[in-house]
């Protein structure tokens, strides 16, 4: 895997598809910046994200409050910075759970084929036949507001794509000579899956996961915009937007800055994902055009 990343890095800097790669690099740079900001949030913010001061409510952006203050007089900049932690965490955790679930099920389906394949792929069909955001909304809604419920709901609707792609790759790879050789040398199925097949699915999975993090952040923001997800006063981008929408007329900065934060983050992951896709496997392009 490290080798793949190193190669990808080298390609990234020398590849002549310059424009595309420039966008991928911009995406990567913004993501790194967001990670750093999230990591050092406590020393970075000018105010505590929960600190209220009703006398300072609805202040427009200023030097002291770069993005202004909200209806409780809290610093919007500080809240967005802390929100970065939550958004990135949700994106990464949801994607990790989805990807691992998808890899395991896809590998089982591709490797064993027959009845195992049939059962797993029918489950995939059922999940794909249902609008994911609505299922996530219903699940998170029924379980009640809360971060964990959103994580659970989004992971439950996000794994099918990985399962499909991994299954396809495994079905193609398992017929190849190196798998036959490994088997002839006495390797067990689990060993073959882990040692020989897993490395082959990593490239497409990394591409999907990069795009997936952006999608998960977007979906989580949508759910918290509707009022699910972490509850106040936890600073979540989606719910900050939701708070702001009541004051759209008088104080649009309550809405604009969290909205920009979501957009830039999602855009960065899309840029990076698109770039990685072109680097790792141009053939993937068509399949994941959305």
């Amino acid at each position: 895997m490290t080798a793949a990343v190193v190669t990808a890095w080298r390609n990234l800097s020398v590849n002549n598809q310059l424009r595309k790669n420039k966008m991928a690099l911009i995406g990567l740079a913004i993501i790194l910046l967001l990670v750093i900001v999230a990591a050092i949030a406590p020393v970075f913010v000018p105010h505590h994200p929960y600190e209220q001061d009703l006398e300072k409510a609805f202040l427009p952006p200023s030097l002291e409050y770069p993005f202004g203050t909200d209806d409780f007089g809290r610093c919007i900049f500080s809240r967005i910075i802390f929100g970065t932690r939550i958004s990135l965490a949700i994106g990464v955790v949801v994607t990790a759970i989805s990807a691992v679930t998808g890899i395991i099920l896809g590998m089982l389906a591709g490797f064993y084929s027959g009845i195992v394949d049939e059962v797993i792929m029918r489950i995939v069909d059922i999940f794909l036949a249902f609008p994911g955001l609505i299922l996530a909304l219903v699940i998170a809604g029924l379980l009640g507001p809360g971060m964990f419920n959103v994580l659970f709901a989004l992971s439950l609707v996000g794994w099918m794509g990985y399962a499909r792609v991994v299954r396809g790759v495994v079905m193609a790879e398992k017929e190849k000579n190196f798998v036959e050789t490994a088997r002839a040398l006495g390797a067990g199925s689990l060993y073959i899956m882990y040692r020989h097949l897993l490395p082959n699915v990593l490239a497409p999975v990394i591409v999907m996961a990069t795009l997936g993090i952006g999608q998960a952040i977007l979906a989580a923001a949508g759910l918290s915009f509707l009022g699910l997800g972490a509850q106040p006063p936890v600073p979540v981008w989606g719910s900050m937007l939701n708070d702001g929408k009541m004051y759209l007329q008088t104080a649009p900065h309550l809405t604009i800055f969290p909205g920009l934060a979501i957009m830039i983050t999602v855009l960065s992951f899309n840029f990076l994902g698109d770039g990685l896709r072109d680097l790792f496997d141009p053939r993937l392009r068509e399949k994941t055009i959305e």
Partner: protein, 314 residues
């Protein structure tokens, strides 16, 4: 073909069972007692008594094991009876049918808006490839794809309703109420369709028969409209078909922003009211619509492009 449709309809049954099982399980796991909610709805919070709750629990069959409740509910659903709202006591199916037209209106308007923008934009972008207009369109498409619909909706309200006052901020009514929600819902789809129309058109314009037609002396306009357009449309229709399902999904958020009285808003409202039977009904309807739309789209391809038939039936 018939076999394929029957198989897909069988799939619909499985999906419906899957969806209802999932929502039923979640409702069972969820905090909140349906019998208590019904008692509050009927007698008010101040008159709440244990006896009433227990009486309702027995009368509504809520004391039975979850599996029996599920089978009972499924039996009613087959006959078109989705139960009663835990909050208002009205039949769920009536409420849903009441809200459905507004959702269809919105989705249709969004579809029209997105096609009206995307198809011409994509064609122009392809014909004038590498022109400033092309870059402008592609940048717009990129923004459109990345912009979450709730951000876009709020921005549109801010500029066109609050600042300029051209449209009402929210609500349901005439055409003027529909424009902002339709743009909000249609933008994501428009962006994807523009990109696809462009790349599909570029692809077709590189084919030999286009060069041949051009060498016969056809004007660029004739070339594009009578030769290239038709052939570049199949992938576009595919994507549009796929997107219609997601358009339905988007109604949940867009209807909530604009207080549009459709199925999506009903679902969100029911979730916060913990109106379990209404949630169940809405989720079921969304699932059925989603599967049916995808089925219709798939069937229509087979007529549009005979090549697809082999893949799908195998």
């Amino acid at each position: 073909m018939l076999k394929y449709i029957i198989r897909r309809l069988a799939m619909l049954v499985i999906v419906v069972i899957g969806v209802t099982l999932v929502t039923f399980t979640m409702i069972h796991l969820a905090p909140g007692d349906p019998a208590e909610l019904m008692a509050i709805a009927r007698y008010g919070l101040e008159n709440l008594s244990e006896e009433d709750i227990e009486r309702i629990r027995v009368a509504e069959g809520l004391d039975a094991p979850i599996f029996i409740q599920y089978l009972r509910w499924l039996g009613h659903t087959v006959t078109g009876d989705l139960g009663r709202s835990l909050v208002t006591g009205d039949p769920v199916q009536e409420e849903i049918l009441l809200k459905l037209p507004a959702t269809f209106q919105l989705a249709l308007a969004a579809l029209v808006v997105s096609l009206l923008v995307a198809v011409p934009a994509g064609i122009i972008s392809a014909v004038k490839q590498h022109s400033p207009l092309d870059y402008l369109t592609m940048t717009g498409a990129l923004l459109g794809v990345s912009m979450p619909n709730f951000c876009l909706g709020l921005l549109l309200i801010l500029f066109f309703a609050v600042k300029l006052g051209w449209f009402p901020v929210y609500g349901y009514g005439g055409l003027s109420h529909m424009i902002l929600p339709a743009i909000t819902l249609g933008t994501g789809m428009a962006a994807i369709t523009t990109r696809l129309t462009r790349s599909s058109m570029l692809n077709v314009l590189r084919q030999d028969y286009i060069t041949a037609a051009r060498s016969k002396g056809l004007s660029e306009g004739q070339l594009i409209f009578s030769h290239a357009l038709k052939n570049s449309f199949i992938p576009v229709i595919t994507i549009v078909g796929l997107q219609i399902g997601h358009l339905l999904e988007g109604t949940v958020i867009v209807e909530s922003i604009f207080a549009w009285p459709g199925l999506g808003k009903l679902l969100v409202d029911s979730i916060f009211a913990r109106d379990f039977s209404m949630i169940q009904g809405c989720a079921l309807l969304f699932a059925v619509l989603f599967v049916l739309i995808n089925l219709l789209v798939d069937i229509s391809y087979v007529y549009l492009d005979p090549q697809i038939r082999y893949e799908k039936e195998s």
